[in-house]
Each structure stands twice: as structure tokens, then as C-alpha cells.
Subunit: 293 residues, 4 copies
């Protein structure tokens, strides 16, 4: 039987605002409601950044705790995946909610890179940033996740970033299944193309589980290509507001529904939360977990 | 601007019968009606096999002439593409309608191969046939097409079959754009996979135009993957009766509509007949052509 | 530790004659002497076609028996691999020496194809042959090899030919390790290129062992590319007379020596006969085997 | 006719010392002598870092001027390619010799990345550095090279780094042929493998010229693979001290000779300086150039 496809919902992110898309959730309650819509449409994993009620990013443990509580009320069995990405705060602060709340998954970046935006119209770079993630920081985050029993979701933006896992596996900081997210379409990283996706997929170590994260308008073509090679996919208002039809989505649920439809159109099935838990060696949620998150 | 995607409709074939799918057209009038539905849904090229009114294959010039006349009545500008594939008749008979009617395109097979069907359930081969197309036959067909001013659509079932065009280009029997159809999923040829599709696409000579033809249930995943790499696609009752939803299509129009929707979902546009004519260096249909076909 | 590279020597073939290359062995004694030179230079496997003393092909059991005896005298532990390829004789005759002599390996063709030679100078095909190997013949040969305890070396000339093993694995006619030879560079099959080699290598089922067979002048580039991806290689007077320097080899030993040098230049080691036996699950040669071959 | 292969000699670098390899040139005279040996063995392009007489790196214009003068005395027509790579000095200092001396080529780095060394034995990172090259620095270097009439050799360590050229092409900072060096084998960048090499080669824009730079013991396998796909190659004491035989080279000449032998073994020819100049649209050296360098 063909492998089932896991869908992750990236509910909110931190960059986009309601001025750009009025459906982006900010408060824990809003995030939980969007999580429910996403799960109802087929998502197993909820990738969550915390926000202040104003929409500004939040990094404090308490906000993450409240988000976890609200999400658990509505979708008790969904797999919660917290961000650790942040600029301008200490590494300790970037990871303290993982240590405190022990989520089942958390994302981290696997390399340094240029992270830029260029406008062909004005022929200028609008954003030109060196995203710094030396190995000592990666080791630090992985150590903390290991202590928390949290599965690291390794965000890789280029081919060599995948190989960066090798020494960390050798050091015992990573266990199977190794979970990779191929982020594609950021200027400075690997561009979106089916050729690049296949090369990334062919580059992961044995015993890996991977998904694609497509940034911008080519996201849907990347998702389609990933499904055809048994990859998992992520959609949500963090990554792209627009449905395949070109219309702006009115909720994360609509985006996950579009991804799930694409899975079925291409002859595959969407993995249930239980099936995803099995692939990732995650136990069903129980009281102990509920009391933490 | 991204390349537009050409859709070919394979209206009827010769193998499938109305017992299997009641919507398969047999008579010239039925074929033309299905051609109209396909064009209305987005097809530019109509790939046509002739049938007797009983549904049995027809190879005579007259049936092909009547099909051409009926199609021209309903969709005067569509690009007509006749089959030359047949088993058990002479090469002369396989090509005589091309010589007589000078269609704008005609398909031919570019190699010999095993052509088989295996049942994993019974562990038996149900069909085990050596499809023979030595170079001398290919040369013969190409020479006749060249004399008729017909563009050869080269059906290739494996990687080496693409390279078979090389000596024929060297001999002057083929002109740019070289038109390839990657037929995938026949046991004996290259299997359907996105990896295989990308390798086929990377193997065509410069100045080629290609489409995919997927046989069986994996057709839609192949079409999706092809669209993501700017390939052209074929759908129709000859190749697969079923819509991406799993339901049997009620017409070629429904299948072409599904393909066109997929094109748009993946951020591309469907080429109009005029745009397809431009890609293939085909003039608009005029009286002279109409008088022939 | 990096995988060691197995070298097969194709000692004589049946097509080339001493008019073309005076060093081609014909008699059992000559073939054995060449086998000894090849083994001394690093070959583990000897791929052998029988010849009459005149150089014409021989298909009789007795000649094969004499070859086996002579080879065993000089290189008792080498792995003997007999051809079953022939045109114009019955399938029974093509396999009878395998049934009678139970060699450790024997080669067979895995598909039908065009097998042609084209001259760009005269713009003519010099050879244009449909090589017919329907599944029923392949099944027949595999069944006989299974009964003889002989490992089938599956010669595949295109990508789809690899997939032809799938139903035969499903039927129980093939056991791991599946042994594939990628024959490249025959017109009608997949051309020699590093891109094509990597695609072939990526297409074999799990548990496969493969080597490359390059026909003609590009053989050495194919061997080099194969070594870089841990593939095994074949050289010998059957495939190509010329050393990497461009000079004609004076023996199979010189060709195998050149292949072994290339293995070492590229940072790998040549597998010994014992190491090759281990990879292929072949026992060391013992008296019982000696009495047969 | 097959494309000829250009060989670049990386004569000295700045990291390796005579304690590690006694044949590394330090002074302008030594560098020039090594340049002569390299050119005699087949190199067309000399990639040069300046050193103080003690072996420590030099960045001053005068040392580069003296190197140019000495090189021109011995090999007047060789293509000189200066490094701009340095850590701990200003961008102005990294490029001032290019502005002053207008070499025909100069290398620059095309992205930020982790640049690390890991020891599997001690399970520690020995080096863990964020190599920062934001787009504004790249723009600055390219602008200065454009003003000097110097061809930029773009050193790319990963797949996305190739795409970093796209906005710079769009801004008019790069002209055809775009010259890429695929640096492979640095931890933090793309690992050495034939699969990765082919993917890099397939990712360059139309109108590109590329070579491989392999770091460490797998260099020769990378060079061999590159030759088989018509790529150009670099060897020299900067990259690897060891010959394919495993012995330490006694000069750059020996390393270039080994590369040239590999080119010929794989059926290709080494490009002469004149042929390389033609590929890169570089005029023959004349008095004006000589007076500058």
C-alpha cells in the first residue's frame, strides 16, 4: 500500500500581519481555533509560533503554555510543533519554552545562510541578512530538545544543510526517524523546482521522514511534486495566503483542505494523526502530556 | 512568463470498448462530438484512432477522411493527430491515411520492446508481446510523414528510445521542433515515477517539445509532475477512464477539464490552439487544409 | 569502509575476430590463459562465450565443459559466468550448458529492443535487428538457472528493462542479491553518459548488485563514473580492445590492469575473489563444484 | 568534437604550510616557478593567493604585483586568477589588488555558510565558523571587478549559491560566460558525490562555464566525474597534496600532470591556454596587460 501523506499546518508564523491577511490568528484562542480547522481538514501536526495579542512575536513560556492548553482543548491528539526561530534574542530564550513545556516536536535551523529578498522591478535587495546558525548553536538546541524528549524538525534550506545532520547523528544528538523540512524558495537557499526537490529527497540519510515547505506562489507546485514522490507537505497562513485557485484563503482550514484535496487527486491518502504518530514513533497523547502542554 | 501547457486529448484509442466505458466514441460523428467537448475544455490537439461503427479498429482512408470532416465542422482550428499504430497489417496500410489526408500530426513508435501485462494476484503474464519497430520501419513512416508535411509525434517508451531519434535527425528525417511523447507505465517500458519523468525530460535533444502519456491509475500524478517542469500533457478515454476523484469520466471533456484544472492549480496556463500552433510552427487552418482533411 | 569494486573480465565474446584484434582467445586453453591473466590483474568474475577453434561461436556443452576445466586448472577459485546469448538457435540450446554444467553465474537478456549500428559518415544503418526476448523466454531461462543453482546476471540495456525484474521477483524466479549489468552505448538502448548511469543505478530494487558494461570508446569514462558511485565494472576484449591510452590491449590482463588502476586512482580498492563471493553469497569453490565444471 | 577540458592550478592557497607539505611556494619567485611547472603540465589558469616570505598570507598590492611580474616572465600567456578571500580584513583590502592590477580573473564567494571541521574520532568540531558573505559584499566585489575588467570566478559551496547569481545577473553585474567553481566537500556546504556534482552542473544558467574544486581525499573522484560530463577541473597544492597514487606530490606540476592524464584517459583533451581564452572571451595577453600585472 502506498505511503500516506502527512500534512502539517503552519498556523500563523510571525512575519505576516492582519494588514496583509485578515485571517491570521494572534491570540492563543485564535491559534487553537485555526488549529481545529486545520485538523478537521486533514492536518496531523500544528507548527506554531507564539504572538502577542497585538500580533507581535512572543517568546515567553507563558504564551506558549496558553497556546498549548487552548489547542489541547479543541484537538487533544494533534501533534504540537513549536518554533525556536528568532532573531535578536538569546539562544536560551529561543529554547526555554521547549525545556519548560516539552512539546512533541520543535523546529530548528540547520545552517547559516544569506536570507534575502530581491525586487526585479527596482533591481534592489529589500532584505539582505546573514542568518547565523553555527554548529555550536545547533548542538545546543538539539541537546535541549533531547533532554525535553522533543523531536527536532530540522529545517534545511539547501543541499549541504542536510549533510550537516551527519556529525550530529554521529554525536548521538539525533535519533531515527530523522525529521527534515526542505524549505525551498528563499533567496540564499535552494530554489523551488521539482528537480531540486528530488535531489533533496535523494540526499537524506536512511531512516528519514521529510516534508516540503514552499515559500510563496510556487508552493502548490512543490506540494504536488512532493506528493508524487511520497513526501509529506506543509501548508498554512505562515507560508502562503493563497489557494491554488489564486484566491486568498479565509482560514488555515481552507489551505489544509486544498492540500488534502491535492493528496487525493494524486492517488494518495492523507495520514490521520494516529498514523502520523506511528511514523514518528510518538505515543498517543495521555494525561501526563496534557498536564505539561 | 511561464511556458503555457498544451493539452492533447486522446479521444478513443482502439482497445477499450463500451462494455468497459460507455462514453467511448466509435463513429466519426461521435468522435467529432467528443473532440468538441475536449477542445471546449482546453485541448489543442486531438489524437485520433479510427473505429468501425461496431467499435472495432478501422484503418481505411475513408473512415479517417470522414472523421476529419466531422471534426473540422465542429472545431475547425483544432490540430488533428492520427495514429499509425497497428498490429497485423502492413506498414503501407498503417500510413496510407497520412499520405492521403496529410494530417498536421501523426504518431509513431520509436523502438521495439516487450509490451506485457502481469497480474500480481495470479502471478501470471496476461499479455506478453514483442512490439517490433525496427529502424527501417521507423524510417519508412518518417519518410511518408515528411512527404505529407505531417509532424511526427514520436512515442517513446523508454530512455534509449529518445536517443533513437539521433540518427534520424542526422539523416534529415526529422525537423525542429522534435515532438516527443513519453509513454510511461507499460510493462516492458519505463515505469511511471517523477524521477523517471525528469530523466526523460532531461534526455531530449535541444529544440524539442514533449508531453507525457500515462497509462493507468498513476496518470494524474504523472500529469501533475509534468506540469511542474513545464511539460505538456495528454488525457482522454484512450489512456484512462477515471477522473482524479476516482469516478469514471462521462466524456473526454471531463478528463480534459480535470487536466486543465490541474494546470491552473499548479500556477500555469493552458495553451490555446493558436499558441500551440505557434510552438509547433503550424500555420492556422485554411481552405487548402480543409479541403484535404 | 568504502565498498570494494568487483571487476569482471569479458574474455572473448563471439563477434570480434582475430582479424580485428589478434589477442582474442578462441580455444579453451587460450580462454583459460586469458582468464589467468585477468585474474592476476584483479578480475574476480570471468564472463565467457564459447568459440570453435576457428573462432566461430560454439554453443555445445562439451566446449563449455572443456573451457571450465581449463579455467579451473589455472584459476580454481575464479567465478565463472557463461553467456546464454545467441541468435538463430533454440532456447533449449541457449541454456543447455547451464543445466549440464551448473556454472556459478550466467548472463541473460531482460528485454526486447532494437539493436542497431548507424554510420554518420554514410548516413546508413549497418545493422538493424530486433532482439527478441519476450517474458516467456526470460522466465524459461530463469527457471533453468534456478534449477542449476546458477546466479542470473541480468543484462539490461535500458531503464524499463530493470523494472522487468519486478514481476519475476514477484514470481519467485529471482533471489537477492539481484545482479544487474547495465549495458550502455548500444543504439536502441540507453546511451553512455554519467547522467544515464546514475539514473540506472538509482532504479535497481533494494538488495541489488550491479556493474556497468560500456560498449565502444566511451567505456573508460563509464567505468570511471561507476567507480565514483560504488558500482562494479566489466572490461575485456569482448567489450573494447583499447586501453585508456588509446593503444590496443595485448591481452585481457592489460585491460583488467587498466580497470584496476582506475579503481585505485579513484580511491577505491579492487575486491578479491573471496570478497566478491561474499557479496554474491557464493560459497568457495570445492570439489563438488570442480567435478561439475 | 568533444569539449576540451580546462585545468586550473591552485598553486599555494594560504592555509597549508611547509610543515605539512614542503613543496608549497611562498615567494613570488617560487609561485612563478610552480606556475611554470603547472602550465607545462597542462594548466591554463593559475589561481593565486599571495604570501609573505614567511608563508603567512599577504594582502598587499605590492606582493600581488611582484607575483604577476614573476609569473609573466615565465609563462607570459597564462591566465592569472587572484583570490579575494580573506577573514579579518576590510572588503576594500580584499579587493584593492584587483582594482590596482586588473587581473584577468579573480575569485569571490557567493554566499554565507557554516564552514566547519568535525572529527568522528573525538566527536568534536575543530572548526566552527560562520563565513559571512551577504549580498551587499558580493555586489561590492562584483562592481569592483567589473570596473577592473576582471572576470569573476564565482565560488559556490551549495546549490542555492548558484541561484544567488540570478539577481546579480539581473542587475547587470555579471556577463556571459558566467564562471562558476563548484567547491565541494566542505562541512557546511554540499558534500562530494557524483550525484551532487551532476545536480550542480544541471543548475547553472545558460551560458555558464564551470569547474570543480574538490577539498580533500575525494578530489580525484570528483575530477574524474567532472571530466565525464565535460566539466573543467582544478588541482594544485592549495586543494590537496596527494596524487591519485596516494603519494604526496613534489610540485604543482605533478598534480596538474595527474589531472591532465586523467583527462586523456577518459577520452578528452586538455584545453590549451589559447583555447581557454577563447571559451572565456579573453584576448591574448599584450603589452598593455603586461604593463599592469
Amino acid at each position: 500500500m502506498a505511503k500516506k501523506i502527512v500534512i502539517t499546518a503552519s498556523l500563523t508564523g510571525v512575519l505576516a500581519t492582519r494588514a496583509q491577511c485578515p485571517y491570521i490568528p494572534y491570540t492563543p484562542e485564535e491559534i487553537a481555533s485555526e488549529g481545529k480547522r486545520a485538523v478537521d481538514a486533514g492536518a496531523s501536526i500544528l507548527h506554531i509560533h507564539a504572538r502577542q495579542d497585538s500580533g507581535m512575536p512572543a517568546y515567553d513560556i507563558d504564551t506558549y503554555r496558553r497556546i498549548g492548553e487552548e489547542v489541547r482543548k479543541l484537538v487533544p491528539n494533534a501533534i504540537i510543533n513549536y518554533s525556536t526561530g528568532a532573531v535578536g534574542i538569546s539562544n536560551e530564550e529561543r529554547i526555554h519554552h521547549v525545556t519548560a513545556l516539552k512539546p512533541e516536536m520543535a523546529a530548528l535551523n540547520m545552517s547559516s545562510m544569506n536570507y534575502a529578498i530581491y525586487s526585479p522591478k527596482t533591481k534592489e535587495f529589500y532584505h539582505d541578512f546573514v542568518f547565523q546558525n553555527p554548529f555550536k548553536d545547533i548542538q545546543f538546541f538539539l541537546q535541549k530538545m533531547k533532554e525535553a524528549g522533543t523531536i527536532p524538525e530540522m529545517e534545511v534550506f539547501d543541499n549541504g544543510h542536510i549533510n550537516n545532520a551527519s556529525p550530529l547523528i554521529d554525536m548521538g544528538l539525533l535519533q531515527k526517524p530523522y525529521v527534515f523540512s526542505f524549505v525551498m524558495g528563499v533567496l540564499g537557499g535552494i530554489p523551488i523546482s521539482t528537480q531540486n526537490l528530488l535531489h533533496q529527497a535523494a540526499s537524506v540519510p536512511a531512516g528519514s521522514h521529510w516534508q516540503v515547505i514552499g515559500i510563496g506562489r510556487k508552493q502548490w507546485q512543490l506540494i504536488a511534486a512532493a506528493i508524487t514522490i511520497d513526501g509529506n507537505v506543509r501548508a498554512g497562513l505562515e507560508d502562503n495566503f493563497y489557494l491554488p485557485s489564486g484566491e486568498m484563503a479565509k482560514s488555515n482550514g481552507e489551505l489544509i483542505d486544498a492540500a488534502a484535496k491535492m493528496v487525493r487527486m494524486l492517488g494518495r491518502e492523507v495520514a490521520t494523526i494516529e498514523e502520523t504518530r506511528e511514523m514518528l514513533n510518538l505515543k498517543p497523547v495521555n494525561q501526563k502530556v496534557l498536564s505539561n502542554i
